[in-house]
């Protein structure tokens, strides 16, 4: 660190970073430029515009395991508002930049690029560029204006200079800035980062956010109607809508210029009052804006509502509500990759295209970080991977991405500690997780386990069944016999009580024989009485040869105890025949296994049908409704 005395006021001014050549005196605002051994006072630095940045010189942080301190900044004005580039001094000696605006943070480093850089005039949105093996797409081209510098900086800066810049977005949240304010364009390459990942300390404190006090607002009179207007966004918002007359007031303009006026036919009351704070997984946020948008599909307007949430450190979040279904939404700088089938891939997950439509704003109250206008429209494309949604908004070539996640209405009510009821949930939300997802997966696993058990039982049955021929005899039948009945010798059935298969075969052709049979237990006198018919016919007709019936038959008597048995057979028929009787003990069978499999499969099939029905209802309002293979059922799933 090098300390010098300010030539203008004598105060001590420190150059903490060896790469810093400029420092602004904190006491007299003189701009000091460091030469080899002297400092030169090149005049007063312009005054910084008061903004709502949570950063300040002296903030400490960490990026990829390397500590840094904030030593200075350049404050720039873009068309969309103020953007700060904070000069970082890393503990390993590197110098870097932390871009910050509205809760968006991006770390970048000055890089030397050997390949030629396109001129500023040739750049346009959507153009693809390759810088150091990385592919980028031009997102925004505009001339920013430097408002002022603060602290120490690695180059000379003066308020008011124009900085033609282009913002490029790469893959995986990487970005690049092309700065054409010098003869040779400067290239800064880095990535967007999350606030929490920077582990920042010594942050600027905001009264109503640092000590759990009640929300603080700035109140002023509407320049159009004189009504009371409040601003909650701590100088991070750009426009505020007068609740009385609908005037959109530019709060970044010192004269509070009226940009436009909303002329809503009917007022829409937000389900959550403005100024309410809610606690979400990534922090506490205050509701500062509300708007209603709509799309028109086949002549029908579909309205949904969006709630803008604000945290001075983490920026903005959105809550969207449609038919009582809520999504918690956050901007993302991870550019998704479009797939050939219209779907998109984001952070390793595939999001299916749900719908695309031109959305228009038709009602607003509260404040916003852009200059909201009545009727402003953008092309919105939604992709879903329930419970997540990826939205791509294209406003005149300016493309922005956001990711949302479904929230149960009860979770919304809990987050804001609401006592009033939220809109009733109707139908199935685009990102609503199917209540059957987990159950279906578990039922599927259980069904597989049950099937495996059933198969094991069946295999064990096949392996251990006796399946034994215990008796067989061939008998003859003559219609003219005075006594047709026959009895067999006694045979023994062993083992547990199980089935007995009686198989019969008769040499009947174009004839039948009916066998009235009784399997009689010689020990107990219990008879199993049954009858079987064997008939076999064949011939030819105009269609060719045909046959019907069979010369064999089998019947299974269940649960026959062990013992000594004989079979009584009483044949009946019109032609003489010989017939064979075979007795099998404990014969394995497949029908019960198949019935069991069927019974087991029914349950998951029903669950699958219910799950598909849920998806049918989900996609019914998309650009890709599913085939009408079933009734959609009731509308209200509450």
């Amino acid at each position: 660190m090098v300390k010098v005395n300010c030539p203008s006021c004598g105060a001590s001014v420190a150059f903490q970073s060896s790469v810093s050549i400029l420092a602004v005196c904190e006491h007299c605002n003189s701009t000091l430029v460091r030469h080899d051994i002297n400092v030169e006072d090149v005049g007063k630095m312009a005054t910084l515009q008061i903004d709502g940045s949570p950063l300040q010189p002296g903030v400490l942080g960490e990026y990829k395991g390397v500590g840094f301190s904030v030593v200075g900044r350049i404050q720039l004005r873009y068309d969309r508002g103020i953007w700060n580039e904070w000069h970082l001094m890393f503990s390993d000696g590197r110098s870097g930049w932390l871009g910050e605006a509205g809760g968006t943070y991006a770390v970048s480093f000055l890089r030397k690029i050997d390949s030629p850089i396109p001129s500023f005039e040739t750049l346009e949105g959507g153009m693809n560029l390759q810088l150091r093996d990385q592919k980028f797409q031009v997102q925004n081209v505009e001339s920013a204006r430097c408002i002022a510098g603060q602290g120490e900086l690695p180059f000379r800066v003066a308020g008011g200079y124009e900085a033609p810049v282009a913002d490029l977005l790469g893959d995986q949240g990487s970005f690049a800035t092309l700065d054409y304010s010098e003869d040779e364009p400067l290239v800064f390459i880095g990535e967007y980062v999350e606030f929490d990942d920077l582990h920042l300390s010594n942050l600027r404190e905001f009264e109503s956010w640092s000590n759990n006090s009640s929300p603080k607002v700035r109140a002023f009179q509407c320049v159009q109607c004189g009504g009371a207007v409040t601003q909650r966004g701590l100088l991070q918002t750009t426009s505020v809508v007068c609740p009385s007359c609908g005037a959109v007031i530019d709060v970044s303009d010192e004269n509070l210029k009226v940009l436009s006026t909303f002329e809503a036919k009917t007022k829409v009351k937000p389900a959550i009052p403005l100024g309410t704070r809610g606690t979400f997984p990534d922090g506490e946020f205050e509701l500062i804006g509300f708007l209603q948008r709509f799309v028109t599909v086949e002549g029908v307007d579909y309205h949904w509502r969006e709630y803008l949430l604000f945290n001075p450190y983490k920026g903005f979040r959105w809550l969207s509500e449609y038919n009582g279904h809520w999504n918690y939404i956050k901007s993302t700088w991870h550019r998704p990759s479009m797939l050939g089938d219209g779907d998109t891939r984001y952070k390793g997950r595939t999001f299916r295209h749900f719908q695309s439509a031109t959305a228009k704003v038709d009602y607003v109250i509260g404040e916003f970080y852009w200059r909201v206008q009545q009727g402003e429209s953008c092309l919105v494309s939604d992709f879903i991977d329930p419970p997540r949604m990826l939205s791509v908004e294209n406003t005149e070539g300016d493309i922005s991405y956001s990711v949302g996640e479904y929230m149960e209405p009860e979770a919304i009510a809990d987050a804001f500690k609401l006592t009033t009821p939220l809109p009733t949930r109707i139908g199935v939300g685009a990102t609503q997780p199917s209540p059957l997802n987990k159950a279906a997966s578990r039922v599927g696993e259980l069904a597989l386990a049950f099937l495996a058990i059933a198969l094991a039982i069946q295999l064990a049955t096949l392996a251990f069944s006796q399946n034994k021929l215990v008796y067989q005899k061939e008998l003859a039948y003559m219609p003219a016999d005075a006594e047709r009945s026959r009895v067999t010798e006694v045979f023994e059935l062993n083992g547990r009580a199980s089935n007995v298969m009686v198989r019969t075969r008769a040499n009947v052709t174009n004839a039948w024989i009916y066998l009235s049979m009784a399997l009689i237990n010689d020990d107990t006198g219990t008879a199993y009485d049954f009858g079987r018919e064997i008939g076999y016919y064949f011939g030819t007709d105009s269609d060719g040869a045909w046959s019907e019936g069979s010369q064999t038959d089998a019947v299974y008597l269940p649960h026959v105890p062990a013992g000594h048995y004989y079979l009584r057979v009483e044949p009946e028929g019109t032609v003489p025949a010989t017939y064979m009787v075979q007795i099998y003990r404990d014969v394995p069978r497949w029908w019960m296994f198949l019935v069991t499999v069927g019974a087991i499969v029914v349950f998951p099939a029903v669950v699958l049908w219910m799950k598909r029905s849920f998806e049918f209802r989900r996609w019914s309002e998309s650009d890709h409704p599913m085939g009408k293979f079933m009734s959609t059922g009731g509308e209200d799933d509450e």
């Binding site: 009580a497 219990t526 009485d529 049954f530 019960m592 087991i600």
Partner: protein, 56 residues
């Protein structure tokens, strides 16, 4: 739902195991007790339940 399926599956598998073990099946038959031993010597005296079943 999971519990119901577990119960249902257990019942189905139990029935399957029991049916397989005992050789359960469906066939039209009558169980007649105390058939006299004389049938072995004179089978014609037995009157089968199914001897009068209409057929072709």
């Amino acid at each position: 739902m999971i519990r119901a399926f577990v119960v249902f599956g257990a019942l189905v598998l139990s029935a399957f195991a029991w049916g397989t073990y005992t050789g359960a099946g469906y066939v039209q038959y009558e169980e007649i007790r105390d058939v006299p031993k004389s049938i072995r010597n004179n089978p014609g005296v037995y009157r089968s339940v199914y001897s009068r079943v209409p057929h072709k």
